[in-house]
C-alpha cells in the first residue's frame, strides 16, 4: 500500500505547511522521507521560518521549535479530528505575539471541538468561552469558575 502511504504523507505535509505559514506569517515547511522511495525509512521535518535559510531542525530557536511542533500536531488533527483537545502549557516557550497567534489558531478549531487549555498567559484565557481557576490550600486543590473580561 505504497500509494496509500504517499497520499497520506502528501496530505499531512500540505496541512503542516498551511498551519506553519499561518503561525509564522510566511516561510515554508514540508515533510519528506529520509530515503526517497523507501516508506520504511524515517519521516523528516523541513521547517523554514520567513526570511531565513533552511537549516537543521535543531538550530531553530525554542519558540520556533514549539510553533513547528504545534503546526505538525494540528496537521494530524486535520487528518483525523478528535472531539476534545487538551493542551497543557504549550505556549511556555512563546513570546506574547506568538502566544496570541497560537490562541487565534486554536479559535479556528473551537467551533468543531472542545479545547481545554492550561496556560499562565492571561491573553489566552481571554480567548476562552469559560475559565476555571485552580487554587491549592493546605495540600488540597479547589476549582472555581471565573469570569474574565
Amino acid at each position: 500500500k505504497k500509494e496509500k502511504f504517499y497520499s497520506t504523507m502528501e496530505e499531512l505535509s500540505e496541512y503542516f505547511e498551511e498551519i506553519f505559514q499561518k503561525l509564522f506569517d510566511g516561510g515554508s515547511a514540508h515533510l519528506e522521507l529520509s530515503r526517497e522511495g523507501d516508506i520504511e525509512s524515517g519521516l523528516l521535518i523541513k521547517a523554514n521560518p520567513p526570511g531565513k535559510e533552511l537549516i537543521v531542525l535543531d538550530s531553530l530557536s525554542g519558540g520556533e521549535k514549539t510553533l513547528t511542533a504545534i503546526a505538525f500536531i494540528f496537521a494530524l488533527q486535520e487528518m483525523n479530528p478528535a472531539p476534545v483537545y487538551v493542551m497543557d502549557e504549550i505556549d511556555a516557550a512563546l513570546d506574547q505575539r506568538r502566544s496570541t497567534k497560537v490562541a487565534d489558531l486554536l479559535d479556528e478549531y473551537s467551533s468543531d471541538a472542545q479545547l481545554i487549555l492550561i496556560s499562565h498567559n492571561e491573553e489566552t484565557a481571554k480567548h476562552a468561552e469559560q475559565v476555571f481557576g485552580v487554587t491549592m490550600d493546605n495540600g488540597q486543590s479547589e476549582v472555581l469558575s471565573i469570569k474574565l473580561n
Binding site: L33, D112, I116, F132
Partner: protein, 174 residues
Amino acid sequence: SILNNLILRGFKSFNKKTTIPFQKQGMTAIIGENGSGKSNIVDGLTFVMGQRSSKLRANKLSQLIYNGGEDGTPADRARVTVTLDNTDDRFSGIVSEVLENGENPDEITIGRKVTQNSSAYKFMGKNCKRSVIDDVLDEANMDPSRHHIVNQGKVTEIINMSSTNRREIIDRLA
C-alpha cells in the same frame, strides 16, 4: 460537544469531590499558580482513559491516591469519572451490550478507581472490563496515545522523536 463533566475524588491533590463541567463547545481555559493542580486535572482525564502510572508522573497507581497533605488524612481510594454526551445515541450500542436492560441514557459515564490494593474500571457506575472503556473511547474518537492530548513539557516531543517513530505516525494514519 461530547465531554460533559470530569469528576475527581481522592485523586492526587483533589481530595474532596470536584466536578469540572466541560459542556461547552469551544475553548475552556484552566489557570492557576504553580503547583495548584492544573496538570493533575489532565492526569485525571487520561487516568480514566487507561493511562499507565508512569505517564501520570507516578511510580505506581497507589501514588495517585490523595496522600493527606502535610497534616491531613490520606484518602483510601482515588476515583475519577468522565461523563459523555449520548443524546445522539452514539454509545447506545455499547450501553445495550454491557447493561442489557433496555436503558438509553442521555449521558454515559466511564470511570476508574484505585485503592492501595486494587484497581477497577467502571461503566455507568458498575465494574467493567478495560475493553469496554476502549470501545467507548474508540466510538468517541478519543485515544490517550493520540496527539490530541499534549502533556506539560511534551509539545516538542514530535520534533525530538526519531524519524522512524515519526514515520510510524503516517503508517497508523494510512
